[in-house]
Symmetry: C2
Subunit: 334 residues, 2 copies
Amino acid sequence: MATIYEVSKLAGVSLATVSRVMNNNANVSDATREKVTRAMTELGYRPNSIAQSLASNCSNSVGLLVSELQGPFYGPMMSGIETAFRKQSKHVIIAAGHSDEEREQQAIEFLISRNCDGLILHVEAISDDYLIELSKGKTPFVLINRYIEELSSRCIILDNVKGGYLAAKYVLEQGHTDIAYISGPLWKKDAQDRLAGHKQALAEYNLNFNEQLLYQGDFMEDSGATGFQHLHNNAPQFTALICANDEMATGAMATAREYKIKLPEQLSIMGYDNVFFTRHISPPLSTINYPISAMGRMAADWVLSNVYHKNTSPLQTLFEPELIIRQSVLAIPQ
Amino acid sequence: MATIYEVSKLAGVSLATVSRVMNNNANVSDATREKVTRAMTELGYRPNSIAQSLASNCSNSVGLLVSELQGPFYGPMMSGIETAFRKQSKHVIIAAGHSDEEREQQAIEFLISRNCDGLILHVEAISDDYLIELSKGKTPFVLINRYIEELSSRCIILDNVKGGYLAAKYVLEQGHTDIAYISGPLWKKDAQDRLAGHKQALAEYNLNFNEQLLYQGDFMEDSGATGFQHLHNNAPQFTALICANDEMATGAMATAREYKIKLPEQLSIMGYDNVFFTRHISPPLSTINYPISAMGRMAADWVLSNVYHKNTSPLQTLFEPELIIRQSVLAIPQ
DNA sequence: ACATTAAATGTAAGCGCTTACATTTATAAC
DNA sequence: GTTATAAATGTAAGCGCTTACATTTAATGT
């Protein structure tokens, strides 16, 4: 691999001049620019961005930490982010934290030591304190799907209380009063919030929240299945089941069918996230829209604006959930 | 951020010694190792891996180029890869090529200039020649889902001809003789192969392949929808539709329903890939399994073995498709 | 006690770039 | 034709590490 030195040699100029034409920075005469360019193509020269990075202290790369690389939720998020950066020729280094504190921390350390200019973090297990401490460091970062009071300007979040509220309210409007709920793991803030919104809607309808109708899942499909099973066997009768995300709803539906329960006639089901496949399952799942791709793009814009000082459309941190009505919830006949 | 210099100062040793304890390489006495470690934690020292990279000419990171970051196909692949590398504390830099020649090429250049020690490439648009040329360079790479004769030992592929064959054979066994086919874009090798397998099965049943029953899609859901529409309006009657992947099958199914066609009673449908949501749609889709996650792990193993000289389980390049029978194909009554 | 050898540590030259500063060359003003 | 000024180019230091080689220190044998 040719180095800048060889190019300068061939072109008959100094290192600095070659560097200048690369970064088409300063004043270089057309003639020399031409010479240098020619030499570069002749040698098939490709700048070594590691070296650039070290010298300039700017890597043109941003770190992206997500919980998982697969699944209908993170895909669109990553994609939104990559697209935004690609347009500005920034590059993304990716890591998965697997909702595990140590792994998340490790990943952050790596991304920082890797000279990322900025970070986009979707972390779940790491403590607020760690992040607040991190914010005092020199690598700027933005948080997706997590709210920390002290860091509020860099938290891109969905109003999950409202989402939980919307889901429950819709089901209540259809006349249901016996509503089971499969939550996410309640140590996660979003799981808490969704449940809080749920309770709020119940309260508005003067309904008490019955703990027996609650099952705590883990946002994965299987826990929807076991959750349904548990509720079916142990809880009082219910005519509707609200799940804190679509994947658990999917699991619950599959299991309900195994119990020969007709959907949606005998049981209404509500999801959350509006993951892409919800409209393909049967019955098509009513759910709450989570504009994750847009939020990913917004996170990228945050970095573009705060780190690279590019002009972007105005930054927005709070996103609104939206009710998506399909066919999995039936009205109770009066 | 503290540098190695400050650590050496604090510990009262030379740069080299600090470097040695970092890479716990050479002979360092326990006493000095202790001193240095203490100094490191005291300063909160974190090695700058950019600098390490430049000096050692090894970045401990591998580049991963996929067509898209989202979708049920790439997610499991990326995940398999990340997991394998994480265990060996290698890191992955990701890029999306979007099936576009220029973007794929750009991405490869970036990954190389970024000093990736090795590359895992899922490319579609770039030419064989380019890749063959690339293989002469110093950055080793492995190809997923693409076969090039000259590079055969580094091509991790599925036997797509066989997959196409299995799908068609199964449908034929159910008594169908009028079978429509929605292919992938035929400039892609895998699309060609699947179709070839399809034709081969037809031939075994002494059936001619009818061009009118073929629609060329692009592997995306929408093209399944328009494909169905086209076939429904222009093609002769058919009792089964085989799609070259699950997403097109999904699109076709949705549209078929809009035409009030009962599935699977009036039309049998067959997919390909066994993407995770196929079992949730209705009717659950019969399809061909594509062990993409395993193939991702294998690609990672290839790099681990060929680049980092780690011992891995034996490398395998050819993977076998498998018929997955669910409920979307019905036997024709005799 | 002294040579011989091995272990521990230090020295300094890069890795391929960027960039402040110095120097040269061209342009303009008189 | 001089200067003054701006534009173009060159020089060299340094980014934070690794590593070949040189040097010092400790361990061993006689």
